[in-house]
Structures are given as structure tokens and as C-alpha cells.
Symmetry: C2
Subunit: 358 residues, 2 copies
Amino acid sequence: MRILPSDESQARKEKILQAVVHLYIRTGKPVGSSTIGDNYRLNLSPATIRNVLADLEKEGFLTHPHTSAGRIPTDRGYRFYVDSIVNIQRLAAEEEQRIRTEYTKRRRELEDLMLSTTRVLSALSHCTGFVLPHKEIVEKLRRVDLIPFNREQVLAVLVSESGFVRNHVMNVGTAPDQDALRKASNFLNDRLAGLEFPEAQTRLTSELMRFEHEMRDEQALLTTLGKDLFGLGAPQDQDLYVEGASNIFNFPEFQDYEAMRTFAHLVDEKEALGQVLARELSQKGLQVRIGAEMPELKDFSVVSTGYSLNGRPVGIIGILGPKRMEYERMMSIVNTVANLMSGYFEGRGGLIEEKERP
Amino acid sequence: MRILPSDESQARKEKILQAVVHLYIRTGKPVGSSTIGDNYRLNLSPATIRNVLADLEKEGFLTHPHTSAGRIPTDRGYRFYVDSIVNIQRLAAEEEQRIRTEYTKRRRELEDLMLSTTRVLSALSHCTGFVLPHKEIVEKLRRVDLIPFNREQVLAVLVSESGFVRNHVMNVGTAPDQDALRKASNFLNDRLAGLEFPEAQTRLTSELMRFEHEMRDEQALLTTLGKDLFGLGAPQDQDLYVEGASNIFNFPEFQDYEAMRTFAHLVDEKEALGQVLARELSQKGLQVRIGAEMPELKDFSVVSTGYSLNGRPVGIIGILGPKRMEYERMMSIVNTVANLMSGYFEGRGGLIEEKERP
DNA sequence: CTTAGCACTCAGAAAATAAGAGTGCCAGAA
DNA sequence: TTCTGGCACTCTTATTTTCTGAGTGCTAAG
């Protein structure tokens, strides 16, 4: 009939591929040739579509679970689909509002913020949400305070430039006397404020040498402190926040026993999972990882992005779900939440790219 | 042959009941009359045992999954079994050592301790371990320190009698000046140390009245602080530590889809679970709750006990697992861990009831 | 290049069959 | 009176068989 020029035929192919992925995401069932014709007005007969499907399969975008089933996307198929999403969909107004409300409800401590964020992600996505604070942040020291704790222990309170607070109880040989402590904290604050944590440690040693005579009394105390205190640069052992793991089990593809078990174990081993995520995900920009792109998570996809506090990037948030996830939606959710979270401690509590709305 | 006096027949009945529960715990399969004869030298024929089993069933200690299957214990059956455990079994030496090593490895912060404890419980039990710090602890204030945080915020560090440390960032209208803060902390420490948190709040108000003229400058600051600070008596929103949830899925009775889903959701909803546990479990002593004794957890059992820090009871630790759990073992684990944990902050790091061992 | 037609395949559901474990009960033994 | 061997019966579980239908690939005609 009509001869399709190669690029027009290409466009049709892509349209059909999109249709398959989209339908499969919605239904979770293999997509057959006629289903496509029914749902998208392509004015093509099933037979024609079948030919195209066969092509797409040859090129590695689709597979067969078995001879006589419809097609499902391969990882490559999903990848094409995701890459073709150019504009990040705007969230429905009420969803966006919901996120904002959650964030402005009350002043929140850092840890609390992480937790809530994880929950928001999980709740909105119906998948598993996570927040992965970056371990290797090079933090600058803003302030140290030393507080007597009991007979032989001192409580150190470290505040970093970006507002993290950490407590650390340290053993010092002798009973700490209030004045010595004050003098010691002043000393520390004067010399070390503004330095990065590892740097602070070396500086402390050198300063101790220099002022040996002046600080004789506090010498011992400070040495002990120095040793103990600045190992805290990479403080937390594991620091992956995960919520909504059980949401995954609502997806029919994870209804079988072995899949559930595997996933449950995965999430239970937070350290391991954290390592995988840290390795696979970059800090910058919105990112989608599909299936075997992450060997350990070959049956899942991850939508993630970096977030920042007070302008400096400090970690990753994201959504972990089945490969068959609503990528557009997930991408907007992650994006919106990251923006909101990034703005949080700057007291803005609003979207960064907030626009007027009629 | 021999006529059994009623109490001897009673003893035999109990022996058989014990056998059924024990076997069922080990195998997970309904126990038949002949299996019992094979495993326990009772010198009774299967037929006789069947009669006894029928009796036990009438009395509500056992059930049938269906007509021609062996018996399995009812909740009441388990209860009898548990109640008949008089002595808490001693853990195997290497297991005990393992716990102790875990605890003496390094100085640990409180939160860290909770987490490790939960993990130890989970690892040793192959079930789900939990730690539930009690929310309503009436804590006494040991010390308050106020630290300038930024232009309009102050960091308050509260130390309680039992050594809890809490940070709280508070908005104070004006830029805090170092001396005012020091004066304010001194004021607070002088008047409020040793008081329980709610009490501290009321005292603060009254003291403020009394010293109105002297503290005019700090008045505003202190008022703001007072409002914000002592709401922290019951600080954390949710505070249930849970680890090893996926262990449950290794038990064959949770291999079916619906059971897994239910359990996964249960653990995901930490607040809800925390509430249930807080309601059901008492702070005192080793305790076993079986099945429907806790309506929300009717398919599980919980072995728990209170733990204390510095001599005052502050929460509950426990193991959550299938009703078919090795109760003796779980009881020893919980017991040992609780003792070890209780001793932890007293610097002993050892078992309370430590005995000589050859 | 597209479409209609047709034979073919294969997964999954439903039905049929077989095997076994364990019971309950009775009648006789101790 | 209490125990035991025997036997018929019940039900679950596993296995096999049969059926159905969705969907394909290919061919030949439009």
C-alpha cells in the first residue's frame, strides 16, 4: 500500500515499544499484539504489529516469557522507555501539597528528617523508599563543647558547619574539672573551628606541641580527646534508612515465595544494601538504574537523586521498586522530595523551582 | 494389667503433651501417635497414645489440622509447655561468649547499643529481635547545657540521671549571646537538676517568677526554653528497634504468600507494632506471650523481658517468632542479653549473675 | 507493505487418580 | 479396667491427565 520511509517506520516502532512498556507497567501481564491495537489507535492490524514486535525482539528490547505469551520489556526496553521521558511530569497538585505539608509540619531534627523523608517516599510511591546519607562527607567543624558527664567521662558535643550535631562520651583518665573543660573547649574552638575533621586531628597535635607550656594542665585531657574525637568524621556504622519494604510484596511479580524471601533478606542486610546503593548511584542529578544494571538488584529498578543540606550535597534519596514501576511518577516524586528536603534546613521549606500556579 | 492411679495417668498425659509440643517445635509437622512412641521410650502402643491424644484434644491442648493428620499444639498446649519450663537453660558456652564479645568490643553510644542488641537477639534466635525503650520513663534531669547554634537557634544538650543524652535545637527569637546562655544554663542547672522532667517544667516557671528582677535579661530566653525543652520527657516518636524480620521467612509455616505479606506489613508499621508490644508486655521479668494471647500477633509468640540501665528499668527487649519456637533457648537468650545490656553502662560489661566456670 | 487465515505451541486451570499418613473404634488380651 | 492389634475410613498431598485459550509465526493474497 503505502511505503513507509525508514524514519517513519522507525517512529512507529518506537511508538509500539513505548506502548508495550507502558501497558506492561500498568497491567503486569505480557502484552499481546491485539491489546496494543485496542489501546492505542495505530490503525494497524495485529499481524502487522506482530511483525514489528518480532523486530523489536530481535533487537533486544522485548522478550517472550514463553512461545505463546505476549511480550514483556527487557532491561534494554525499559531503558529506552526511561530515556525517552524527557520532561519530568509534574505531580498532581494534591500530592505535591501532601509532601509540602509533611515537611512544614514541625521543626525536625536531622535524623527525624531522614526518617520522614524515607516514609514520604515510600508512601507516595507504594514502593520502598530509602535515604542514604553519604558516609564520606568531609565535614567542617563549627564548634566543640565539653560537658562533664560523670566521674571519669566527658561528653563532647560536636557541631559541624552544616549543622550536624554529634554526641560522644569519652573516657578521660581523671575526674574532669569544670574549669579545665571550659579552658579546653575554648582552646579547641579557637584553633580548630572551620577545619575539616581529619585536618582538625593533625592540627590539634601540632598545636598541643606549640602550647605545651601554657596548657600543661589540660595537656593530658586534650590528648585523650584528640585521639577519640575526630575519628568521628565518618561516624555512623550503617546509615541507610529504608521504609515500606513490604509495599513490594503487593506487586504480583513478587508473590512467589523465593522472590519475597530474597527481597526481605536484602532489606534486612542494611549495610550490604547500603554499600550496593552507594556504589551504584551517583550523587548528582536524577538517575534511573534498571535491573541488571545493578547486578545485586537485577530484579529491581531504582530511581534516585542526590540531595543537599545547606547547599552542599550530602547524600542520596531514592525509590526501590520492581522494574515494572511507573517511572515518570517515581521520577517526579524523587525530584520533588529532594528539592523540598534540600531546602529544609535553609528555613525555606518550599520547592526550589516553585512556580506561580493559577 | 496395671491400674494407673489417676495422678500417675496424669503424669503420663503431661509427658505425652510435652512430647507432642517438643516434636512439633523441632519438625514443624503434625505429630502422629507412632512418632511419639518412636522418639520417647514410653512403652506404650500407638493405640494407647492415640487415646491419650484424644483426651488432650478434648481438654483443648491439641488440635487436628484435619481428620487424618497428626496433632499440633493449641495456644493452650504451648502455654502448658512453657509454664512447665522451670529452669532457664544455660546457653552453650560459645554462644554466651559470642554475646559477651559483642558487648565488650567497644564503647557504644546508647542508640548504637540498642541496635547491636537487637541484632544480637536476631542473630542468635534466628527469629526477629526487638528492643523497645519505654516511652514513659520519668527521667530525672542531671544537667542542661546551652550552646549557641546559629543566629536564632540554640542547641540544648540534656543529660539525664541515667546517662541519656538528648540534643534539641530551639528557636529563640533573638541572637543568643554567649554570656546570657551561660548564665541561663547555670540558672537551670542550679534550680532544676535532679528533678523529673515534667516537674522541671513547672519549677522553671515558678522560679522565673521568684527571680524576675534578677534575671530580667534572660527572662525571655528562659521562657522560650522552658516551653520547648521539657516536652522532651517522652521524646521519640517511635522507638522500636527491629532486626532480622526476614528470618521469619525461613520457617516453613510462613512460606505462604499471605502470611509473609501480613508479617512484612506488621514489621513495616513500627509504630503500630511498638504500641502492641508496649501494651502486651510488662517491664518486669522474663515473660512469654503465645499466639492469641496477643490478638494482633495471633500467629506469633514473643519472649521478652525488661532491661535496665544504671539500675532503673527503662525498656523491654525480646524475640518475636513463630509459635513453634524453641522456647527454652529463646528464654535463655533474652535473659542473658538483658543482663548483659543492663550491666553495660555500669562499666561492668559482664553478666550480673556470673558464676565461676571450670 | 499490509492483512487475513490457519496451524501450532505452550502455560495454566481443572479434573481425575493414586498414595499415605493417621485416625477412631472394636474386640480380645492382660 | 486398661492396653493393644487390627481394620475400615477419611482426607491431604502429590502426580498425572485433560482442556482451553491466548498468542504466535508463517504464508499467501490484497
